[in-house]
Point group: C2
Chain length 651, copies 2
């Protein structure tokens, strides 16, 4: 096994599939210019698909256009973003509050679009924070993070936030087992004292608001990934496990001892019945729930304290375990909902369970034992098929609309295409290098759009111009409309994308908000015209009600600020037009800037440290007289006799 591990990165010196010369034919008889024109989106024309890629260790979501691979926007989610002032301005700081205090970073893993009837609907995008367990919801009309909820009894929220087919629930499974309840426990008491909790988060169908409906208390395994049932299997959620050995040290060896780990199948409709019957335990468990108000554009953070926990021992029929070989990583459900693909990352085969067989085995009690009170189904009774000799290190599978599945092979740096039902591999292409997730728009829903396949690679080495020791990670776009997968494009990514979601532009673009109506702005410190600008002192707190519009600030000269004051600049962008943001910054402020969209108010906090003159200016080039859009603040010593005054910048 060690050899296998050390192997990666070396087996991938495969030849490029396209040849040199701009109009030569490549090995597949396709003109390179044809390939080029397949990804070329002419200046001013639009991409056909949005792709939402997680930023991984960036903590954000990046939005790309496909097929061009152009980065359209980085949406700040779990990490501070100095560019947009996210996590720095007073309005968004509460978004990053947790029970551990303000945390400026997380590791964002799996974007998941909301679904209606098993199809992506373009309303919301959910994404998990892997380090400090959280889920965020992004509003796809504004492309802003609207809500973040912390997951209690959890540590490392990895198998998350996969949705059910009507976004009834999104889920969160802890990657790391931790003491239940949390506390000072010796690490060698892992087995027994450490538990893994799987959370079901209810989503309000109107507002999208998340609430933790219940948790399922599972043994101290590691929970890796999940996907929901659909169609016939709607009502079930499947989680992969690893480290069923329950090792607490040197997992690369100790957690790879068992020949099989499990896919945990949770019947959440049954869970709802147990909840109704009161078979839960309400436990003390603190977590934060942060909401960004769409009218005030101010986030608030509220501490919650209780969750309902279901215990499988007390809820028969809630959980079944499906034995799955070799540390399964991804678990992916085909569009019909019949097949559940387990990708055993140390296996060379793919194990596909049949949901029909699972139900039958349950009915006929075909168990090979139990673990912590949960029946283990006999593997032979539930396997619907095996994709043999898939390759080394299978990780993830997505589906097209023609009955095919596509699986990444991390170690052998390949993607394979195989037929669901016959399990026959029909195509195999090299990728560069070490692919993790892959994505087909709608590829984990009931209605995949099988035109493009996106592969997200972990290693790039020589694929791009070098940039020192740190290299970009990379996506590769394939055309999958034909029999064979055709590599079209390599494009670099922000951070490390762990998963992606794609959706046709028609489902989002028409609803995209262009600016915020000033009349709807409910921010308590809004100004709606230059004339409303003012400076108000309350003790040593100073509120500056500021407006900005091409090409001036009101006020633009401020005097009477003292060293030791706590100054809040509440800055409203008075524009009511598309694509006219203004920025605001103060020389020497221990803060980021504000980047304020038309109709919005944002607040920059500043404690001036010494007397002097401090310029401020617009940071977003907004007009031919942008350079003139500036002002001065005079700061005097604490006891200086300088009156508060300001000049309106209005014309």
């Amino acid at each position: 096994m060690k050899n296998v591990i050390k192997f990666f990165g070396c087996v991938t010196l495969l030849s490029a599939i396209v040849s040199c010369g701009s109009d030569k034919k490549n090995g597949q008889g396709i003109l390179d210019t044809d390939v080029a024109s397949k990804v070329y989106v002419k200046p001013g024309e639009h991409d056909e698909f949005y792709a939402f890629l997680s930023g991984g260790f960036s903590g954000q979501v990046s939005v790309y256009g496909l097929p061009s691979g152009r980065l359209l926007k980085v949406i700040p989610v779990f990490s501070q973003d100095p560019e947009k002032g996210y996590g720095y301005n007073e309005e968004t700081k509460p978004m990053l509050e947790t029970t551990h205090g303000f945390i400026p970073w997380d590791d964002s893993h799996h974007p998941e679009l909301s679904q209606t009837n098993g199809e992506t609907d373009g309303r919301w995008l959910f994404i998990n924070g892997n380090n400090t367990p959280r889920i965020a919801r992004i509003d796809l009309s504004t492309f802003e993070t609207a809500e973040i909820i912390e997951i209690p009894n959890s540590a490392g929220n990895h198998s998350s936030p996969f949705t059910t087919e009507n976004t009834e629930y999104i889920v969160a499974g802890t990657r790391f087992a931790v003491p239940y309840p949390q506390g000072d426990v010796a690490i060698n008491q892992y087995k027994g004292k450490f538990k893994g909790v799987l959370s079901f988060i209810k989503v309000d169908p109107q507002t999208g608001r998340m609430n933790i409906e219940f948790q399922v208390l599972m043994p101290g395994f590691n929970y890796d990934l999940a996907h929901s049932g659909k169609g016939a299997s709607h009502g079930w959620m499947f989680f992969t496990t690893y480290n069923t050995e329950e090792a607490n040290t040197l997992l690369e060896v100790e957690a790879s001892q068992n020949d099989k780990d499990f896919i945990a199948a949770i019947n959440w409709k049954k869970a709802e019945e147990f909840i109704k019957e009161g078979k839960f335990k309400e436990v003390e468990a603190s977590y934060m729930h942060n909401i960004y108000d769409e009218h005030t554009h101010i986030a608030t953070s509220t501490k919650q304290n209780k969750v309902k926990v279901l215990s499988p021992e007390e809820c028969p029929g809630l959980v079944y375990l499906l034995p799955t070989p070799k540390s399964p990583h991804g678990v992916d459900v085909d569009p019909t909902g019949e097949y559940i693909v387990g990708n055993g990352k140390l296996s060379t085969d793919l194990t596909v369970h049949s949901f029909t067989k699972v139900l039958k085995a349950i009915e006929e009690k075909k168990f090979e034992g139990e673990a912590y009170g949960m029946p283990i189904l006999k593997m032979d009774e539930v396997v619907g098929g095996i994709v043999k000799e898939a390759g080394l290190g299978p990780l993830h599978t997505e589906f097209d609309d023609k009955g095919f599945a596509y699986t990444t092979l991390f170690i052998s740096s390949e993607v394979i295409k195989w037929k669901v039902g016959t399990w026959e591999i029909v195509d195999r292409q090299p990728v560069y290098y070490s692919p993790g997730h892959l994505m087909i728009p709608g590829g984990d829903s009931k209605k995949p759009d099988g035109k493009y396949l996106l592969i997200m690679n972990k290693i790039t080495k020589d694929r791009y111009l070098p940039t020192g020791p740190e290299l970009t990670q990379s996506a590769q776009l394939f055309d999958i409309s034909g029999d064979k997968m055709q590599l079209l494009l390599d494009f670099p990514t922000i951070g490390e994308p762990h998963y992606a979601q794609g959706i046709h532009a028609d489902k989002i673009a028409p609803k995209s908000v262009k600016y915020y109506p000033l009349k709807d702005n409910k921010h308590p410190y809004v100004v709606r015209s230059d004339a409303e600008a003012k400076v108000v002192r309350e003790g040593n707190i100073v509120h500056v009600y500021m407006g900005m519009i091409r090409s001036h600030f009101s006020p633009d000269n401020i005097e009477g600020i003292k060293v030791g004051d706590k100054v809040y600049f509440h800055v409203t962008n008075l524009e009511q037009d598309w694509d006219i943001p203004h920025g605001f910054s103060v020389l020497g402020a221990q803060n980021a800037e504000l980047l304020v969209m038309p109709g919005q108010t944002e607040t920059l906090y500043w404690e001036p440290l010494k007397a002097g003159i401090y310029p401020f200016y617009c940071t977003d080039f907004c007009s031919a007289l942008h350079q003139e859009m500036q002002g001065y603040i005079r700061v005097s010593d604490k006891n200086a006799n300088v009156e508060l005054k300001w000049s309106l910048g209005e014309e």
Copy 2:
């Protein structure tokens, strides 16, 4: 004038120059597939040029490949970057120290490559911080920020850091005049009490280290942009000014009263003589000088206190003023060094000064007066040519290698090509929309590489799929190898690029460092093998000497940490291979992650707040057993009787 300002954004509804259909001819008789293949870099092949674009309000530098427009890397410079831990880990925090304290953000404007003999040499990239006046130097062998120097007596470091032809100096001109010396001065005493200082920063030719050599004390104008002389004009630096009215409020009106502002021509060779002669005043002026040590990978911040200031009144021949119409923004010098182009942003013509004529006018004392002791040259005596009817809002000019210049027109959203010497406009193309800077690789040096032209636009509106109120800004790539400019590609940018530098890949790629040799690692808390890992307590300070290598940490279980401890994780990546970074994060840490390159050590600081078990893991998917690369820290109450112990994760 006001109408002109309001005009922008409306005049740009020009038709796209390429037609629909992938093999149709466009209006210029060029096949679209030809255009596509001109920007298509086949998977695995490399771009021909590096382009370094400033991030503007992002505070960073983004590195793109041309012609593909692919984003290869974001280099953190002036802003915290949670993705890389820059500005969060202990090693890089000192990089963001200023005399105003730790500042997590700046507005990065003008990247400038180092030059040798007037040609870009690929050694360093300099960039200015516009908000809190600073200059950074990036090492182009590692693509990391190596040094940041603060500029005293300055506010808004905009006209910076343009280099002389052997990188003798880079410059920094204050955008905002401020009291000299800084202090509590009424804003209405602007005229007289406020000054503008131009700084000359010496660059060590071996190490690249920056030091402020001298400053020139100028009147309280706003200093906008700069470029150095070259060839015949080597030894001179040219700065544009605006607000020579010295207004302090409502500048969009008040600073546009004068028909002409000035280009200030500074003879820095003469300045060196004045310095030698002792004609400077050494003044108290605090600033920070931050250096990232290449052996320890630790930054240190040192406060400096004195600068030498030259006063034009006392140094005759140091400064001459060239009258230039209508608030000149960019000032650009042609490859021969003879022509100095002033782009009056409220003019429709471009004013081109002749350096030969400037020298002659100085010699013959053709002055039309003086300002604050500086001779104003007669405009008629120094103008070498006028590019007439250029368009509305000319901002910036770059040059090719065939005697042509290219100028952006912000208000009329165009780029023009004109002949240096005849001043004839030979081509004009629409751009989308509101272009600011433009860039030709080497286009501000003596040796432009005239294959591509990059336009950086301020507004995109409908050019890409919408992303809510906040839209990307955008670059447009033109082929300028023929007579007419041909639009090839639109690609989105990070933040707002204010300028860019381009360079052929051959000047950088071969020198790019692949990893840091562990044997050269001089970090005081380095470990060079798993066996050296340990945990050391010093009172309530705990140092964790940690190693990481595929696929484990050493130590991976730690006990005996107490609430109230100050824990430093010093994490060394033990890999010695290209593109194998590891990451490190701790659940609930009020910090970003560490992203550690092979051979490097980085330090994460953590104050645990409550007893419990805290997992940590590798945040960068590094091997098939990456998910197993994890560990646990046990935190006990302050007075708990738990001994410090740890388990080495070595195999």
